[in-house]
Assembly symmetry: C2
Homo-oligomer: 760 residues x 2
């Protein structure tokens, strides 16, 4: 109370106020169960947290530290450390996430190449590194050097010919199967939560759900290892979603080192939001895009403080990755594009067409993927996850090898597609015929007729596109780490090249194929994930093409509109619904004309609400009530007749308090009266010792009237992060609405099965 | 009700629920005052809106349109148009804001040059345009051409010499004074709200405050014209803040064309948030930065839908501006930097130092500016705004002319500072000695010794820096349109050049002076406005330097930390407090241990709360209560004894309803009983006709218990945008907390004068 008094200047002091504060403050501070018993304030697994309560607990902690900090220098330093711990955690997350991403990149590089051959000078070198260290390479022949040997060269000393091809093909498939089998086994044995992209679950966790172990140390370790294996095995998966999961595991690990975050589920989620930003930041080398992704796509509660910290974490992570330099170009940017040619207004039309295509593809992808995943969940298919992975890997490897565009790693391919053809480019895509009789300079590429290589490349790319689209549908959602970003980007649109080559008059440097690939990628990703701003920012950070923000935006917004016309859910929300997580989406608008009274329990005709009274129930009564019901908490009323609300007691804390009292407090027996009032009356000397439980009573339960429209109730649940809300009419308690009730009601109004919401 | 029934699938229908919905729905739909009377649902000037109520009104509107859309094709088209009107408004705002920004840029260019001379071939050409059209210019002498004549050349036919200099000097001052006088007069006569940067007021308006006319058509017109005049007059002001105001005026104008936005203050604010993004977008050519600025700095309620729309508006605006092409370089980017040299880790230290400097400068600036503005408000100084402007303009012009760095327009200067010296650069800053004996290539500039021009430039820049710092303090807040961004950027730090020139070993291309200017600018702006992410994004969009995001971030975060250590308020918040606007900042954390009961009215010993009863007061009683109090609304209770809360009636609507009923409903006299109940009892035949007011009763008033901690109450007010909240204890009404009470309590706890919060 001294603190409070100090805070009042003599000028504006209000004696009433201070007295009131003192009275109530002491009422809160010095309650009857003086020692807090263990586990109070924690939540059960698969339950929803109460954001308001977490916030107020954090403020209490903060106040305690502030008041202590005036006592001694040591306490002052401790309070400073506490204030800075947020930034320290961010720094650590950034460092670890950046390092892990670098290690993963290097390992994937090596293992992808291992499927094709090995470096003789040092087996741990990837193809590129191997030839880099060899001095015999010329500029024309960068990919070929004696140190790097294909398996056929090494084993049977043949580099060309049918038998060598078949041997390489076979070993390619074998390696892929090994990697995939190892990955799926590791996941099944050590960390079942390490499977999938992780983003749906992280969204749910950030919205205030508890899934113990989902972000644990084992998950971190296994996910990192299996991610490398899976991406190397050639499955049509990106490492971007899983990198977000990995970063969130880092966030969870470091937040467990600081009691400020480990003991408060709300604060912990602030750290996790920032970690998600760091994850995207390292996945794409896009720190700003990462922050926006966290804001737009994953986070639920994103205060401005988290914005700054996320940005810091994202920058540190990106910077660490740059220092490790896995791409060997000392840029933050993964697919740096060199071209800066302007685009023309008329090109907006094909960009919008790309957007339409992306939207349609997104819708199709989500529908097919969800149908497949539902099938997996409900039929016998789901019982053989290892077999499923092996089969898909085998199919992928068999089909992928003959086509050079699917054989190599996805990010290499994207990098080639995004790039414009230079005069020295050796790629098949740039095989334009150089006519020596032409007077135009050699770098004026669009004028030259396309060589046969371009047409071959077209076909191969078209086949690659179809194959990737189909196989990705089956791959996403398997029991291995899987991401969508890079595969989605692949689904770019190359047909426009041909259309536009005829449209352009010769001599005009009019179309940049790489730009179309970039815009197409954005459109497809937009259709699948329904991101807009963060997507555009990620794309232009990824490529460094600040000029192309308008085309990217046009495609992203069109894609979102088109996809939204067929269904509002992005792939992550669809997976959340598929799993029945209690996720109250901020994007959904609830527009039905229902009232709180329609949603609250008990419904008409049901048994009345289970309540506690403030001073007339015995310990046994309470225990019976707890045993007979499975509610998470009970409203406390003055008496069963008046039904005037006093507060709300959590089930978990009631159980703990009674157990604790029976063990440690003498005289508390089954007959003891339970008091939730401030001052229990004097009891006759022979009566059993009363049990005073005001300490665990939430004196400020959230109430709405029965006439409150459900849209307001939904809004309150969303914005304040409530777990439950009591319904009153003219001061009398009528019922209760939990988050599950709200979600079930919303599902019902949207004509979905309300029983799909499974958790509380 | 048919709609509701249709929405239930036969599978999940719950008869209880539908019945309940029907009953309550009809209770709401068909109330007793069937025709809505005019002005219901509007707010008075200088009052706060109720966000929840606005939102629920919008949902009602939406529902009505959806249900109508099934009736006919025409209604269906109308509903589609309504759904698209948001995007249409964004498009229009983008187009108008971009156009206005382009026109302003062109006009400022012309008028700034008009102070020095005139173009003979066409007087409406600026210096650059004039010489552009002239064919006689060579590359070396871009700035000199015969068509462009200084005033001395034109009037006395002298271009050199003391008398010509004095004549030019005199005319420069004269023009500046003319412009400034014209501007201040226009503002005073036509649109007093057009003064200042506008950002503090826009923040307040977006948080839910009504200031009629602040975003009106007159303000738009006058602000645009005077902005040109003021910036041309050479005052140390940027056009960026005012451009945000102009864009918001555009937003307000277009939203008044669509009833969806014009009739709903909440929806209107969504449009205004997006308009603010468009304003920053055109001010800096930074669409993403604009959106983040709106999110981080200005907006209060920023749902994801607004994020997308803001981005769209910002892009359209930037694109329109690019099409107008006022800078003649067909880029979105204002100060495009050409250099892409990497920076070194060791440089982080000076960057952080720049951040510290920026933070200190920000604190100093805010303190001095607020002190000066307070002085202006409280002393006689404030009575002579015209004189003040004239004096400051005269001082600025007199001091600015002799120094070439202050004479030219601020954006030209920044553009020069940000740029690296090329071999062909004619700027004095690049006057390095070209030693022909040296073997190094000519473009390896850092090795060459600095020529005398560089040292002259250093001195002039140092003087310019000091002058700009001092004069900006006095200028910001005058009664003319004024922005801070560009002047703050100016305060860059050039000393590092000298330090580092010695530190670098010759031959190493180690320091990029332009980068230091950029980082210094970011640090200063960060110190003044306390932005972080949006600032960094704006800076790198402004310059196109994606590589320098880490240095920029380091400086911005350091600057914010340093400045926050001296005081949490940025310049805009400081001005909001100075003006006493009711702004509940999302960034402030309330950590005091007070309860709702300490803040609510009535306090202990005060008269009891003025309440209405549901069925026992006459029209006269109500009128007396309205006359005797000035509260904005009254709780309605069952009876004065029981104090059980039924609902809440707004003062404004009570007055309107009673007035309306007395005029139009027969039999409603002073003796009529006012009923807030659903079914008034049958009255004896002779008794006066009852007045049924359930229609205007808010049946879901927001309540908290008296034990609710104030931090929770503050959170609820912030997140739900409440206007007032009722306080109950075990079902009985105890008191009321308004937004003003909350703000006053917060001011009191922060040791400030609670009376400084002036509005409700």
């Amino acid at each position: 109370m001294n603190l409070l008094k100090n805070l009042f200047s003599p000028l504006y002091i209000d004696p009433n106020m201070v007295n009131a504060g003192e009275m109530n403050g002491s009422g809160n501070l010095m309650d009857f169960l003086d020692e807090p018993f263990p586990d109070v304030g924690t939540y059960e697994d698969f339950h929803t947290i109460d954001w308001l309560r977490e916030k107020s607990r954090d403020t209490d902690r903060h106040r305690k530290i502030t008041s202590k900090s005036k006592e001694s220098i040591w306490e002052f330093i401790k309070s400073l450390l506490d204030a800075w711990s947020g930034w320290v955690v961010m720094l650590l997350i950034g460092l670890l996430a950046g390092t892990l991403a670098g290690v993963i990149d290097l390992a994937v590089d090596w293992m992808t190449d291992l499927k094709e051959g090995v470096c003789l000078s040092a087996f741990w070198y990837s193809h590129e590194q191997c030839c880099w260290t060899s001095n015999e390479t010329t500029f024309d022949d960068r990919d070929k050097c004696p140190q790097w040997q294909k398996w056929s060269e090494l084993l049977v000393n043949q580099s060309e010919g049918a038998s060598a091809y078949i041997l390489n093909y076979f070993l390619y498939i074998l390696w892929a199967l090994c990697f995939a089998f190892l990955a799926v086994s590791l996941v099944r044995v050590f960390a079942p939560y390490a499977c999938g992209s992780g983003i749906p679950e992280i969204k749910t966790i950030l919205s205030g759900f508890i899934i113990r172990g989902y972000l644990g140390k084992w998950t971190l370790l296994i996910k990192t290892v299996t991610l490398v294996l899976v991406v190397s095995s050639g499955l049509s998966l990106g490492k971007e979603g899983p990198l977000v999961h990995v970063a969130c595991c880092c966030g969870n690990f470091f937040s467990s080192l600081f009691s400020k975050y480990s003991k408060n589920e709300g604060k912990r989620r602030e750290v996790l939001s920032a970690a998600a930003a760091a994850g995207v930041s390292v996945a794409f080398g896009a720190p700003i895009g990462g922050v926006l992704f966290s804001l737009e796509e994953v986070s639920y509660y994103f205060p401005l403080k988290t914005l700054w910290r996320s940005f810091f974490a994202a920058l540190v992570a990106a910077f660490t990755l740059r220092s490790i330099n896995p791409f060997g170009n000392s840029r933050l940017v993964l697919f740096y594009v060199e071209y800066h040619t302007p685009w023309y207004m008329a090109e907006l039309f094909p960009f919008i067409l790309l957007g339409v295509f992306g939207g349609l593809w997104g819708t199709l992808f989500i529908r097919c993927n969800i149908a497949w995943c539902r099938r997996r969940k409900t039929t016998r298919l789901g019982k053989y996850p290892v077999l499923e992975v092996i089969v898909i890997t085998a199919i992928t490897a068999i089909i992928a090898y003959p086509n050079p565009y699917t054989r190599r790693s996805t990010s290499e391919l994207i990098s080639e597609l995004f790039n414009d053809c230079g005069a020295l480019e050796s790629s098949q895509l740039c095989d334009y015929i150089n006519d020596p009789n032409m007077t135009r300079p050699v770098d004026d590429i669009p004028d030259r007729p396309a060589g046969p290589g371009v047409y071959t490349a077209m076909w191969q790319l078209a086949l690659a596109l179809v194959f990737k689209i189909v196989i990705t549908i089956f791959t996403f959602g398997m029991k291995i780490p899987s991401g969508l970003f890079i595969p989605s980007m692949l689904a770019y649109h190359h047909h426009d090249w041909i259309i536009f080559r005829n449209w352009c008059r010769p001599g005009a440097d009019c179309v940049t194929p790489g730009l179309y690939a970039m815009v197409g990628a954005a459109a497809c990703l937009g259709g699948v994930t329904r991101m807009t701003v963060s997507l555009v920012v990620i794309m232009f950070e990824l490529t460094g093409g600040l000029e192309y923000i308008v085309p990217l935006m046009a495609a992203a917004v069109t894609s979102k509109w088109v996809a939204d016309a067929f269904g509002k859910e992005g792939i992550y929300e669809a997976h959340i619904h598929l799993n029945g997580y209690p996720f109250l989406d901020v994007k959904d608008e609830f527009t039905h004309r229902t009232l709180a009274t329609d949603v609250m329990r008990p419904r008409r005709g049901e048994a009345p609400l289970s309540v506690l009274t403030q001073d007339s129930m015995t310990v046994e009564d309470v225990e019976t009530l707890i045993k007979e019901t499975d509610y998470n908490g009970f409203p406390v009323v003055v008496s069963k007749d008046s039904e005037r609300l006093i507060g709300f007691a959590q089930r978990r804390e009631l159980i703990l308090a009674i157990k604790n009292a029976r063990q440690r407090q003498d005289g508390v027996v089954s007959n003891s009266i339970v008091y939730f009032t401030e001052d229990p009356p004097e009891l006759p000397p022979n009566s059993p010792h009363p049990l005073k439980l005001r300490r665990i009573l939430n004196l400020s339960p959230f109430t709405v009237t029965d006439h409150t429209p459900m849209e307001t109730v939904v809004d309150i649940f969303r914005k304040l992060g409530l777990r439950q809300c009591l319904v009153t009419r003219s001061g009398r308690l009528l019922g209760i609405i939990t988050k599950k009730d709200v979600l079930r009601h919303m599902a019902q109004m949207a004509n979905q099965d309300p029983e799909s919401i499974m958790f509380n």
